[in-house]
């Protein structure tokens, strides 16, 4: 196979000669490539959107909350209510060394936060400083609650993004301002912009985070806490600790250790696993649909080339009679097939990239959006182009072998 300017001209000519046929056939390939890349990019963007909801969350976190017992135990009936206490924190820390953090939380929902004329609905969360290890804040202004705030029971708060935008509509650094939440004035010490939707005890957006002892005193919580948040040391699977934690708590609070419904146990590991499975399934589906469509397009190309070869029997016979070798003919047909596939596929790639960047700019164009990348990578595009040329060869194989079977004497026969 020689590469002469005329080689390309011949290919272009024969594709252009049957414009509508080439277009229709190319469309199948175009659509297949477009679908595959667009779905891949879209799926990736969706995945990022979803995982943004979990942003700032340690993957090996478990949250424990009390519920009602569902089994009788040692003379006590089922249906008994119980509460977590500060001793549970110490106990879990002491008895399960694999846990890096064990931190309590008390909360009070539906408080009104006021700054001058601006008001907004807020949830008070009382936490220790180490809560930031469970749900990592995205500090925009100021700082998070620290040990000293807790020890000295300072009336300070870190506000979520929605609280901030509602109470401080003109923006700027709010640190130092006093705001009233419920019955009490707090000094704002920080703004947390973490907008993940998976937040413990309400969205971080609408939270006013205060030192735990402050909330405990103001809301008269005594020794009880609402939630226990635990983080495993790196490499520790929370699901492997679940049974031990349940046992320790059951013994302390006097209920059946096998009563799984008595304790609400949320493990982020499971949630991440579910999400992972979901997206694995989704990308399998994307590949199946995308490759299936491309394959259908390729078969279309092969079919049309077959018809073309049949129509061109005399022409090919003439070429053979005046000195074309079978490999010349083979090369010509395969090149036509590759060109058609590649041209159509390139349009598919370009169109998918354009549409994805449009989608990206729409999604990322929303105010306060966390940037999401919908675009397929450069290498994905390169690999798809390579794949297309290989598929083009495969599509050309059957028609080319048919063309090679055309004998020079066939030039003589004219039907």
């Amino acid at each position: 196979m020689r590469f002469d300017l005329d080689t390309y001209r011949e290919i272009a000519d024969s594709l252009v000669r049957n414009k509508s046929r080439s277009l229709l056939t190319g469309f199948g390939v175009f659509w297949g490539v477009f679908m595959l890349l667009f779905l891949l990019g879209g799926g990736q963007g969706l995945r990022q959107l979803m995982s943004n909801n979990f942003a700032g969350f340690a993957t090996n976190t478990a949250v424990i909350a009390p519920s009602q017992t569902t089994k009788p135990w040692k003379g006590m009936k089922e249906g008994r209510r119980w509460s977590l206490t500060y001793t549970d924190v110490e106990r879990l820390k002491r008895m399960i060394p694999e846990l890096e953090t064990v931190t309590p939380m008390v909360s009070n929902w539906g408080q009104e936060a006021v700054n001058g004329a601006n008001t907004v609905n807020a949830n008070i969360k009382g936490v220790y400083a180490d809560y930031s290890k469970v749900e990592e804040p995205l500090i925009r202004y100021g700082r998070y609650i620290n040990e000293a705030d807790v020890a000295q029971e300072r009336k300070v708060c870190v506000i979520g993004k929605r609280i901030y935008t509602s109470l401080f509509p003109s923006g700027g650094d709010p640190c130092g301002t006093m705001i009233k939440v419920g019955p009490v004035y707090y000094q704002v010490i920080g703004v947390d912009f973490n907008s993940g939707n998976m937040s413990i005890n309400g969205n971080a957006d609408e939270a006013v985070v205060v030192p735990l002892p402050v909330a405990q005193k103001i809301y008269h919580r005594g020794n009880t806490i609402d939630l226990l948040c635990t983080c495993g040391r790196s490499g520790v699977k929370m699901s492997s600790l679940e049974d031990r934690m349940r046992h320790i708590i059951a013994r302390e609070h006097g209920f059946d250790p096998t009563d799984r419904d008595a304790t609400f146990f949320l493990n982020t590991e499971q949630i991440f696993a579910i999400m992972d499975n979901l997206f694995t399934g989704l990308s399998f589906l994307i590949w199946l649909v995308g490759l299936g469509t491309i394959l259908a397009g390729i078969i279309g190309v092969s079919n049309i080339m077959m018809v073309t070869v049949k129509e061109r029997t005399t022409e090919i016979g003439i070429r053979r009679a005046i000195g074309a070798t079978p490999s010349n003919i083979l090369g010509q047909i395969i090149m036509e097939s590759i060109s058609l596939t590649m041209a159509a596929g390139s349009f598919g790639i370009v169109f998918a990239v354009l549409l994805l960047s449009l989608l990206g700019s729409i999604v990322n164009g929303r105010p306060d959006a966390v940037p999401v990348d919908f675009q397929v990578s450069f290498w994905t595009a390169v690999v798809s182009a390579l794949l297309l040329s290989i598929l083009g060869v495969i599509a050309g194989l059957a028609p080319a072998s048919r063309a090679m079977a055309i004998k020079p004497v066939d030039a003589m026969r004219d039907e």
């Binding site: 005329d6 009679a321 005046i322 020079p408 004497v409 003589m412 004219d414």
Partner: protein, 240 residues
């Protein structure tokens, strides 16, 4: 001998076998101008295709320039056709979507001659055949005679030893037929090209120097026609 056939047999087998060539013995020397005549279905085209290595024969021997032509690979056969043999067909067999000059260039394309060189040569040959003005025209914009002259230019461009023509005038009127035959005669005379023409028309055969009659797959009479007296209508006229 440039062309030598010894006891060449050819059988077509489509369902029932058809023995078309039944032992052809024929010698043609370099520089001869020969016509092959015979009834329809007598095997003229089959013989010409074998001589042109467009088709295979079953038994016997066929030599070009002393080289046995048998069991060639497709590539070798293509090379022989490309360099040694030029073809002229009844239906011209020009490629319809290529211009005259592109058609003429094509054999050189398969020889690997550079683009500018083959264009130059093709233009020379078109000029020689009086078609320089038609170089950019497509076959469907030309008359039969012009198309056949383009085909002749295409056959000649590789400077072949042998020119094979299967009823080259079959689709032309008598005047154009005569022009084409004059052209072939001139090529034979001035450039020494060996020409074999298959024809039905005695007028066409009369333009050649030797007439080979083929009957039922065998060579019959071989007429010496150097005097060009074979046509009952007189020398150098073709009646249709």
């Amino acid at each position: 001998m440039l062309i030598e056939l010894k006891d060449v047999n050819k059988t077509y087998d489509n369902g029932q076998p058809l023995h078309v060539l039944k032992g052809i013995n024929l010698s043609i020397d370099s520089g001869e101008f020969v016509s092959i005549m015979g009834a329809s279905g007598s095997g003229k085209s089959t013989l010409l295709n074998i001589i042109g290595i467009l088709d295979n024969y079953d038994t016997g021997e066929y030599y070009i320039d002393g080289r046995l032509i048998k069991g060639l690979s497709e590539k070798q056969a293509a090379d022989y056709r490309n360099r040694m043999i030029g073809f002229i067909f009844q239906s011209f067999n020009l490629i319809s979507f290529k211009t005259a000059v592109e058609n003429v260039e094509l054999p050189l394309f398969y020889q690997g001659v550079s683009r500018s060189k083959r264009h130059e040569l093709a233009m020379q040959y078109l000029e020689k055949l009086g078609l320089a003005d038609w170089a950019g025209h497509y076959p469907n914009e030309m008359s039969g005679g012009q198309k056949q002259r383009v085909a002749i230019a295409r056959a000649l461009i590789t400077n072949p030893k042998i020119l094979l023509a299967d009823e080259p005038t079959g689709a032309l009127d008598s005047k154009t037929s005569e022009e084409v035959m004059q052209l072939l005669a001139k090529l034979n005379r001035e450039e020494g090209v060996t020409i074999i023409v298959v024809t039905h028309e005695s007028g066409v055969a009369n333009c050649t120097d030797k007439i080979v009659h083929i009957k039922d797959g065998l060579i019959g009479r071989i007429e010496d026609n150097r005097e060009h007296r074979a046509s009952m209508f007189g020398a150098n006229t073709i009646m249709k």
